[in-house]
């Protein structure tokens, strides 16, 4: 399977298998950068995997006051789910519980498209009849009276139907420290790529899973990549791999996911095998389940 070595890092001849998802984006603003970040972090909280969280969420990037509708500091959050219905439910719950409640916050569409999801239209009822709709510049906003003034929320946000979820990189190193350093370098590089998120803690997952289980569970540990089981199972790991970390990438478009994986691979290669990872791989299901295949050899630096 291995055939490519770039600057000492072995790159598997394999591919990441990704799926079609429904996605949306929010622009969350507040009076200060600290509170815009807080509202965004709370909104994306418990949003690592659709398996247990309903959606995958993360921060795309921070926005300067010039980039936001109300001229305050903002953060763009992306949310991904398996269906439009699920995404709508998650959006409504998260905006209602996490953005509405956050001091000084306001929430706007982070994406404009032909198809829309209800944003302010879904949370306006919190206003209990005191909510006010304002429409100007082709956009409609809801103003809800709250205890620190008003919560302003755009009526709708865009829906991306061609979003891609499950782009990934498996970072394999000779030590836990080196593997984490390589994964962190990849996360930092991918952070700069627009329209993508890495939903797991700090962008990194240490418990890569396979589909199915001997128990009644939808997913279970991927033993082929567990270093402590290397001798006991049909392992995918070489003798020099002591730790594996996965970076999962969701993007609004296929191109965004490819750009993110390219940036991640380049960062791991740049760090090199001595300080970082010795090998890079990707997770797939044999290519039969997901329509998007990101081959590492096409994305190498």
């Amino acid at each position: 399977m291995r055939e490519l070595i770039v600057k000492g890092v072995r790159i598997d001849d394999t591919f990441a298998e990704a799926f079609e998802m429904r996605a949306t984006a929010l622009t969350i603003t507040a009076d200060s950068a600290r509170w815009a970040r807080q509202a965004a972090v709370t909104t994306m909280g418990f949003g690592t995997s659709v398996i247990g969280c309903g959606c995958e969420a993360g921060i795309d990037r921070e926005l300067t006051p010039e980039e936001t509708p109300d001229g305050r500091f903002g953060v763009r959050v992306l949310l991904f789910a398996v269906s439009r219905t699920e995404l709508q439910q998650q959006l409504q719950n998260r905006v209602g519980q996490c953005v509405l409640t956050s001091p000084g916050s306001a929430c706007y569409a982070g994406l404009h498209g032909e198809e829309t999801l209800e944003l302010g239209n879904a949370v306006r009822f919190f206003g209990d009849g005191w909510q006010i709709s304002k429409r100007f510049g082709g956009r409609r906003y809801w103003r809800l009276p709250v205890m620190d003034g008003e919560f302003v929320c755009e009526a709708t946000t865009g829906l991306a139907k061609q979003a891609v979820g499950g782009g990934n990189l498996l970072v394999m190193g000779a030590s836990a420290g080196g593997t984490l350093a390589a994964a962190e370098a990849a996360v930092k590089a991918i952070d700069a790529v627009p329209d993508v998120i890495m939903p797991f803690p700090g962008g990194i997952a240490r418990s890569g899973s396979k589909v199915g289980s001997k128990y009644k569970a939808r997913a279970s540990t991927n033993e082929a990549y567990c270093p402590t089981l290397r001798g006991a199972v049909n392992s995918a790991l070489d003798e020099d791999v002591a730790s594996v970390l996965e970076i999962v990438i969701d993007g609004l478009t296929r191109e965004a996911v490819a750009a993110a994986m390219r940036a991640g691979i380049a960062a791991v290669v740049r760090l090199g095998p001595k300080r970082g990872a010795v090998r890079l791989g990707a997770g797939n299901y044999g290519g039969k389940l997901g329509p998007y295949h990101f081959h590492l050899k096409d994305l190498r630096p």
Partner: protein
């Protein structure tokens, strides 16, 4: 391409209906056809050619020169393109307009932008009474678009307004925003008596207060709202003066409690303006 220019030869001896001179209705018409269009409002027939000197050009870009206040219904039902009028105009300018841009370099009469649904109107001087308002028997006034009056506006600006934005850079007359259903009226200077009279919903912003406020508006305190920032950002494209009203915190009055009471008046300073001379209703 050069604009289509209509120059008024002389003051007409009757009021004229110019509603046929809008871009989408002039498109594809020959000079002869345009010259034959009828404009009269009495039994005495007046054609375009009788009263205007016509220089053919792009019908999407119409210029009316040497205009006077007897020319009514300019830009009625206008859907696209541009009309620029040099001089004063009559009543119901831009009535039921749905798109495009209408500029009046002068003063406009009553019912300017009446029932307007979209597009943009700019009046460089004053506008008469019932700016954006409905004609008798109509349920709603302005339903969309943006109107900017650089001078003063008459009484009942924004009457029965349902949606859209009216900006008056000067003063407004009495009963500004009366019977509003929704929408936004911004008066950069002061309004006359009883702004927001019987308004149900909607927003009125007064830069320098009004002559008299109805007791059915209730003081809700001074606030600095995020909505001001959105509104200021939107209207700064049309009027820097109106955007400047939102630089400070504004006092909110909720009303009109004699009607539904979901409307609001925002005021930059004390709600009552300092008056000079005897009190009187402004028009």
């Amino acid at each position: 391409m050069k604009p289509l220019v209509l120059t008024l030869r002389e003051q007409p001896d009757q009021r004229l209906d110019l509603s046929s001179l809008v871009p989408h209705r002039l498109a594809g018409q020959t000079a002869t056809e345009i010259n034959r269009l009828e404009l009269q409002t009495t039994r005495r027939r007046v054609n375009v050619g009788d009263i205007f000197r016509v220089a053919l050009g792009d019908p999407q870009n119409i210029r009316i020169e040497n205009s006077c206040n007897r020319l009514d219904l300019i830009g009625q039902g206008m859907a696209d393109g541009k009309i620029l009028v040099e001089g004063d105009v009559g009543n119901q300018v831009g009535r039921l307009m749905t798109g495009g841009r209408l500029t009046i370099k002068g003063s406009a009469g009553s019912w300017t932008a009446s029932g307007m649904m979209g597009g943009q109107i700019e009046i460089t001087d004053t506008a008469g009474d019932w700016l954006g308002g409905p004609l008798a028997g109509e349920m709603a006034g302005m339903r969309g678009g943006v109107v900017v009056v650089r001078g003063n506006a008459g009484a009942r600006a924004g009457d029965r307004m349902r949606r859209g934005t009216i900006i008056v850079e000067g003063n407004a007359g009495h009963h500004a925003g009366s019977r509003m259903l929704a929408g936004t009226v911004i008066v950069c200077r002061a309004a006359g008596s009883f702004p927001g009279y019987l308004m149900r919903r909607g927003t009125i912003v007064l830069g320098h207060g009004c002559d008299e406020l109805s007791p059915t508006f209730l003081d809700c305190g001074v606030h600095d709202l995020v909505a001001f920032r959105l509104l200021a950002a939107f209207i700064s494209d049309y009027s820097a003066e109106a955007a400047a009203v939102f630089r400070n915190s504004l006092r909110r009055f909720a009303g009109d409690m004699a009607a539904l009471g979901k409307g609001e008046i925002f005021c930059a300073e004390g709600i009552l303006r300092r008056r000079r001379g005897p009190r009187r209703l402004r028009s």
